[in-house]
Symmetry: C2
Subunit: 408 residues, 2 copies
């Protein structure tokens, strides 16, 4: 956290305690950080689990094991190591993860596959087993902490702690969701150097929780991009302790399932936005809304082509209403588009409609909009009913400074 706090930062929300999910932090000393870097969350027996993971084929052992073990549906603990991603470390990396699973499952008296591990940081250095062991020993006897401390501890290049919370009425009970996330660079669809965790006291059967989390990720984490790069470690998991006492949600038609899904969607969207708000070097938060596409999926791909374009992102950084670069990005998306039906606007003001610059285009309100730090780009393809919104940030000198200096 050596960099200045992002100008787009949001204050950490007041996340209440989540019954059945108890966070603790400790210092394993993976890097010379002088702060806690190991997060341990103990989960009550019966906690169900779901997860979505990076599609990067060079994924870490943590991701491989997580993807495998989430299928059995139960979780008793989560361990997050910050400062070393343990990715691309072969059998030694895998041994380090398995040692953590052994240590924690022995302590809790649970099955090994109910212990989930994530690691984030430098690639290619095996996680040191001795440091992990000592860190976990310290965490097991530490006092429980609040969610803000946990959010800070999972961070690496993050400039602020990120969390979200929501409640829902489920079968006459109020259930609470509390969530934390880390990530600022290497963010792209199919996720990011992004580790996100949602905890809830709602009782949800694991298969339904997985469906709900997958759907929520599609409209949140898979709609953000900072630099088009996809990490080897990206993980978002949901843990449902059931301590709220509601009748377990087992299907979309269970009473309260809609309310819980809406709360989960809201939390995931907020987490995704927070990651973009901490995009490396970000000065402006950008929403790209595409309408008139042949399908929603096509709209999203066009939106991401715009959101990933270095030329669009630098234009926004320069507060330049350079809609020509948006045209370029639409054209290169590989999706159906017709130059002569295309309309482009900024901040709700059209610059070009149906393939032509507007004759009476007044740049003043657009220029004023671009001086702010919440930017919207609107694109109408004029072809169909498909629509999507994706989120990104501008590309600035800060991104270069952070990534040309960050040491491997």
């Amino acid at each position: 956290m050596a960099h200045d706090v992002s100008p787009l930062a949001r204050p950490f929300p007041a996340i209440p305690a989540i019954a059945g999910a108890t966070p603790r932090v400790a210092r394993a000393g993976y890097k010379d950080w002088g702060r806690c870097d190991l997060t341990y969350v103990e989960l009550a027996p019966g906690t169900t689990v779901a997860g979505v993971f990076t599609r990067n084929v060079c994924c870490s052992s943590e991701v491989e094991l997580g993807r495998l073990n989430v299928a059995q549906g139960q979780a008793r603990a989560l361990v997050v190591n910050a400062g070393n991603s343990n990715a691309f470390t072969g059998y030694r990396g895998r041994e380090a993860v398995e040692a953590i699973m052994d240590q924690v499952s022995a302590h809790l008296g649970c099955a090994r596959e109910q212990v989930f591990v994530s690691s984030t940081g430098v690639i290619g250095v095996p996680l040191p087993k001795d440091k992990a062991r000592a860190g976990i020993e310290a965490a097991l006897v530490a006092q429980p902490c609040d969610w803000e401390a946990a959010a800070k501890t999972i961070g690496t290049t993050d400039t602020f702690a990120k969390g979200a919370t929501a409640t829902a009425m489920v079968g006459g009970k109020t259930v609470t969701l509390g969530a934390i996330i880390k990530g600022s660079g290497m963010i792209a669809p199919d996720m990011a150097t992004m580790l996100g965790y949602v905890f809830t006291d709602c009782a949800v059967a694991a298969p339904l929780l997985q469906q709900m989390l997958s759907a929520a990720a599609e409209a949140s984490f898979n709609c953000i991009t900072v630099d088009s790069d996809t990490s080897t470690s990206d993980t978002v998991m949901a843990f449902a302790t059931g301590a709220a006492g509601n009748a377990e949600l087992t299907g979309w038609d269970s009473p309260g399932a809609d309310a819980f899904a809406a709360a989960l969607n809201a939390v995931c969207r907020e987490l995704a936005h927070l990651v973009v708000r901490d995009g490396e070097g970000a000065q402006k938060f950008i929403a790209v809304s595409v309408s008139g596409a042949v399908s929603d999926a096509s709209a999203r791909r066009v939106g991401l082509a715009i959101a990933n374009s270095p030329l669009v992102k630098t234009a926004i950084a320069g507060e330049d209403a350079n809609w020509g670069r948006v045209v370029m990005a639409v054209g290169k998306a590989g999706e159906p588009a017709d130059r002569d039906r295309l309309s482009i606007g900024f901040g709700g003001v059209w610059c070009a409609r149906e393939g032509l610059p507007l004759a009476d285009y007044d740049e003043a309100p657009v220029a004023a909009h671009l001086k702010g730090n919440e930017i919207s780009i609107e694109v109408d393809l004029g072809l169909g009913d498909g629509r999507a919104t994706v989120w990104t940030c501008d590309l600035t000198h800060g991104y270069i400074s952070i990534n040309a200096d960050y040491r491997s």
Copy 2:
């Protein structure tokens, strides 16, 4: 040309006169540049033509008409406007191009479709017809110029003039190729804000010239990337005047066809490298060589995923042997790869082999290599015989400065 000359610049080569192709330049005044901005090349009757064009679906009228008219195989003139791309300008843009074709074809007494027009610069402003007309009138009566003057005149944000030349023995005659190109940003496969022109006195039938140019582009222009953005105007054309007096090449088995194709390949590769060497903000020229892929096409896609990764490009800018970011880029390419067979090196020194950091890895020679400005990244996927090399440049503060300031 307001920016400092790229540190990767090459001196303009001594391109001889190409019999049958006569360049002239003039000042149309599309921008307040105080220099020539209109290039006119008159081509002898019987000149054959070939072209490859952007696949951006929002392409300019110049590209639409060029793609259409190249099919008839003959060219008498080329006009290149610098400072205004005339893209996304609807019917008014098209009228401006057609007016130029009318003016020049009337002057030469040729068919209108034998006049080829390119424009480069800002998108969305119709090319001013009056300025174009006066510029062409001036060019028609100007003294012929050398190829370096033409190369300078087609440039926009280029920091140096770019050209290449070669000769070949074809049927007992020495044929000469001279070529110029412009482009520095918005460079990506399927080309770039890139306008390139190859002139030769060799006699080549138009269908063969098209085949040869398409093949040469595949291994040159389609293997470079600066910022992953694809322009609406990209064009590479070849013009063969036939003035060398060789027996016309009509097929790949014509005597001398191999020699001519080799020279054309060499010229296209040099032009492509020069564009990367003038990549906006580039400080280092990077060759990414991928071997062991399941196919050559797969190797190229993996290479481009690496070459387009902002995290890899900033690591090279920072002279950081961050091979973990290369792992990440391989993994996100969407191509077959196996983490545990992957090897990565810089400057011919392996950092990781078969999925593991090398135990005896000596970073000193790699660090020394990365301090230079000609960088190589080697990736072996360990799966098959597919291989490819792609070229890019690093991502620096210079890129941000140029593109956050460049005015729409």
